[in-house]
């Protein structure tokens, strides 16, 4: 076997070995799971990429989503996303897919509020059986305000009505 061939094989083998290591590290990188945050640079409020999110949703959530779609399809004016309009998280959107959204300073909240006026489990937003979205205050210290009234009971959210928690304001949009 010629010297040249052997040298090429030797270097080729090292290259393949390192390629394996690099691919393995890439697998680890893509394997870090948790909350996916998609940066979208500009301020255009394009409708969230539904197909992308559906693919990313875990099985049980997908199931809920399907249930909601079969039950709530045809409802006109149903909100599709929750938007933070004021506060440190301004611009954050969460797609409404039939899941309960929790707000608070606790790390496992859907929207983690970094706000001195927020309680750790401050409020939650969830759909009732008809697909109407409800906001409920979870006994917070400083209260949750819908428009200007402090919530005392679970209340349906009208489209576009501001919900204020400390310095953060969120609203539901189509």
């Amino acid at each position: 076997m010629s010297e040249l061939t052997l040298t090429v094989m030797r270097l080729g083998f090292l290259a393949v070995l390192w390629l394996f290591v690099i691919v393995a590290v890439q697998v680890i990188r893509s394997d870090l799971f948790g909350t996916r945050v998609t940066q979208r640079g500009t301020a255009r409020r394009a409708a969230p990429d539904r197909s992308h999110q559906r693919q990313a949703a875990p099985p049980q959530q997908r199931q809920q989503q399907r249930q909601q779609q079969s039950g709530g399809r045809g409802r006109r004016g149903a909100p599709t996303k929750l938007v933070v309009t004021e506060g440190s998280l301004t611009g954050t959107t969460v797609a409404l897919q039939g899941q309960t959204i929790t707000l608070g300073r606790a790390h496992d909240s859907t929207i983690v509020l970094d706000d001195d006026y927020a309680s750790s489990r401050h409020a939650r937003i969830y759909p009732d059986r008809d697909g109407q979205w409800i906001v409920e205050d979870l006994g917070s210290t400083n209260g949750t305000y819908l428009d200007r009234t402090r919530l005392t009971a679970p209340t349906p959210i009208p489209l576009g009505a501001p919900i204020r928690i400390g310095k953060t304001v969120i609203e539901l949009r189509k």
Binding site: M9, R10, A24, V27, R36, T90
Partner: protein
């Protein structure tokens, strides 16, 4: 509508099953050793080796069996553990086969009055047995938390395993170390299996005692000093590992068990003082035994000055290994073109890393060590993701054992620490090692499957809905 610059979308991503990724990586991990095998054949005898097809099919079959079992019975398991282990096992087989072809080793065996037997076919059989045990563990162990029931039984069992080589008639004294037992013509190294069993005991024990060990302590000079009675377990394990060192003259096993215990103690209690104590105690033990025990003493001398030991004929292995690493250089001499068979004794077991160092060079050795590091990283990651404390402790203990074993062997061969009689996991020739390490990977895969499985959806509560409907 307010216009903002940081527009983000938050959506939850569940841990997906990564079985197809695993399959692709596994195919890659089978192709690399086949390439290496062809390379060795072309370099040593100018033709493709005749066993290429059988070897490729054999390794591919073993990998496929492993993959199918994981796909069926551990669908959410970590996608990298199996391919990484397969790659090292396959490369180890190629290097053992390459050393089988060496005329020097054959001549050396004949000069010693023995018949030279090829080690590669036996190692392939051990790998098959290892995969069989891997499958058996995954099938029989549906939930790793069941192991918690056997905490104290496994303590007893592991001590029995560790002491077996000392039983007269059963234990064998091979080249100064009593770490083998002979059963029905096979020699077994019980310590390899004991490391898994003892990890179960440490995990179960520390899970119960962690609060006492972590909280009941006095603060002194920035360190937490544990109470005297809490020192008892660490003293016991230390005494056992010193006994192993003295009676079995096996530095590696003793270091492995004590190191593993200290790592798990640290993880359980988050107290740095345990690491300090552990290092002090192992240093005291190692220095004392090293200056008394003659077998250990020769190894320490060979470590301090390998070339003096080479000249006066005590042992030439470490010096030969260093020369092998040196002649390998950065990119190596190429597979099948080195002279690492000059190491002679244990060239394909303890010293297999020297062959890697010579024929693949620094670049190849670093890649292999990175593959080991990735296995350890996936183990530690599994421990982080595990939801139950027992699984956390077991996963970190097994990965620590794996890491310490790689460190002890690689450090010994490279002259960083005194040489110990341990084998490079998966790579080196030795049935016990390969089989036990496949079982270790199986336990890690089982824990990672449980850890990464998506949490079941909470049961719908009809009462909650009812209370919401009623309004004043």
């Amino acid at each position: 509508m307010s216009s903002t610059s940081n527009t983000t979308t938050i959506s939850t991503v569940g841990p997906p099953s990564r079985r197809n990724t695993e399959l692709a990586m596994l195919a890659f991990a089978v192709i690399i050793p086949i390439f290496a095998y062809a390379n060795v054949g072309l370099a040593m005898s100018d033709e493709l080796p005749s066993g290429l097809l059988n070897y490729g099919l054999g390794l591919g079959f073993l990998a496929a069996v492993g993959h199918l079992v994981v796909r069926k019975w551990a669908p959410y398991a970590d996608p990298l553990l199996l391919p990484l282990a397969t790659l090292i096992n396959g490369l180890g087989l190629v290097i053992i086969w390459r050393l089988d072809q060496s005329r020097r080793l054959a001549a050396r065996a004949e000069a010693a009055g023995q018949t030279f037997t090829a080690a590669a076919p036996r190692q392939l059989m051990y790998s098959a047995l290892g995969i069989a045990l891997f499958v058996a563990v995954l099938l029989l162990l549906k939930d790793h938390r069941k192991l918690q029931r056997y905490t104290y039984i496994s303590m007893f069992f592991s001590i029995v395993l560790l002491l077996l080589p000392l039983v007269p008639g059963l234990g064998m004294n091979v080249f100064g170390a009593r770490i083998w037992i002979s059963v029905a013509g096979f020699s077994i190294q019980p310590a390899e299996f004991a490391k898994i069993v003892i990890a179960v005991f440490f995990a179960g024990y520390l899970m119960v005692k962690r609060d006492a060990l972590a909280l009941a302590s006095r603060r002194f000079m920035g360190m937490y000093l544990p109470r005297g009675r809490d020192l008892f377990p660490i003293l016991t394990v230390w005494a056992i590992s010193i006994l192993i060192l003295v009676f079995e003259t096996d530095l590696g096993t003793s270091l492995l068990f004590f190191g593993m215990f200290v790592v798990m103690l640290y993880v359980a209690t988050e107290r740095t003082s345990w690491i300090v104590f552990g290092l002090l105690m192992s240093a005291v033990g190692a220095v004392t035994v090293g200056s008394i025990e003659p077998h250990v003493k020769t190894r320490v001398d060979a470590w301090l000055d390998p070339f003096a030991a080479f000249d006066n004929g005590t042992t030439d292995q470490i010096a030969q290994a260093m020369m092998a690493f040196g002649s390998g250089g950065t990119v190596g001499t190429g597979l099948g073109q080195g002279n690492s068979d000059l190491i002679g004794f244990a060239a394909n077991s303890d010293f297999i890393l020297a062959t890697v160092g010579e024929e693949l060079g620094l670049a190849g050795t670093m890649a292999i060590l990175l593959v080991y590091a990735l296995i350890v990283e996936r183990g530690a990651r599994t421990a982080l993701a595990a939801r139950d404390p027992f699984g956390k402790m077991l996963a970190i203990g097994l990965s620590a054992a794996f890491a310490i074993q790689v460190f002890v062997v690689a450090g010994g061969v490279m002259g960083l620490i005194p040489l110990t009689g341990m084998t490079m996991p998966f790579m080196a020739y030795g049935g016990s090692s390969v089989i036990a390490n496949w079982a270790l990977i199986a336990v890690l895969i089982r824990i990672s499957d449980t850890a990464r499985r998506p949490a079941p959806a909470p049961a719908p509560s009809p009462d909650a809905e009812m209370t919401q409907v009623v309004r004043p």
